[in-house]
Symmetry: C2
Subunit: 107 residues, 2 copies
């Protein structure tokens, strides 16, 4: 069905923003992110998330630290860097702009 595809497209571009919003509140590791985005009705796959986190890390917007887990292997907790906070502030502005655009087109 076409609508599913378009809907998926709409969410696509928002992923990076949503992940950074999440990390602004607290450091998270991958499964944290998947679960918490899911609770907010945003689906993200493992194969999507890991490359995305690596890219944000490479661009200096995220850092990480290893933390031991009580169960299973250690976890990579990602955190926003100062550059990340700055980029996120710009994305906040972009989000406002998109909301305004849609609002105009709906009126």
């Amino acid at each position: 069905m076409n609508t599913d595809n378009t809907k998926s497209q709409m969410r696509k571009g928002m992923l990076e923003y949503c992940i950074m919003l999440l990390l602004r509140r607290q450091p998270c590791y991958a499964n944290d992110i998947i679960q918490k985005l899911h609770e907010a009705d945003m689906i993200v796959m493992e194969g999507t998330l890991y490359p995305l986190l690596s890219r944000l890390k490479r661009d200096g917007l995220l850092g990480y630290e290893w933390r031991e887990s009580t169960q299973g292997p250690p976890r990579k907790y990602y955190v926003l860097t100062p550059d990340g906070h700055e980029a996120l502030a710009q994305l906040d502005a972009s989000w406002e702009e998109i909301q305004r655009t849609v609002s105009i087109l709906k009126s």
Copy 2:
């Protein structure tokens, strides 16, 4: 700069929705769409728009009719089909959902 890229990504998925929103109000031809989206702060290139319109046409969400122009060659005016209106209603819902998701993540 990375933020520009991400910002572009955010707009990407919204394009199809914005174009359909525009066509809900009135039939438009390509340059109409480019100009009116631009007025609403949404940039779209020719090379993006034409394939997108063709795809929506192929999927039965848009139709078109040729209209003579007072200046230059005739224009292809696109209109929403009944299926298009239905799909657009679903996209309205998706848009609401995305807004809610971001709202949750910002809180």
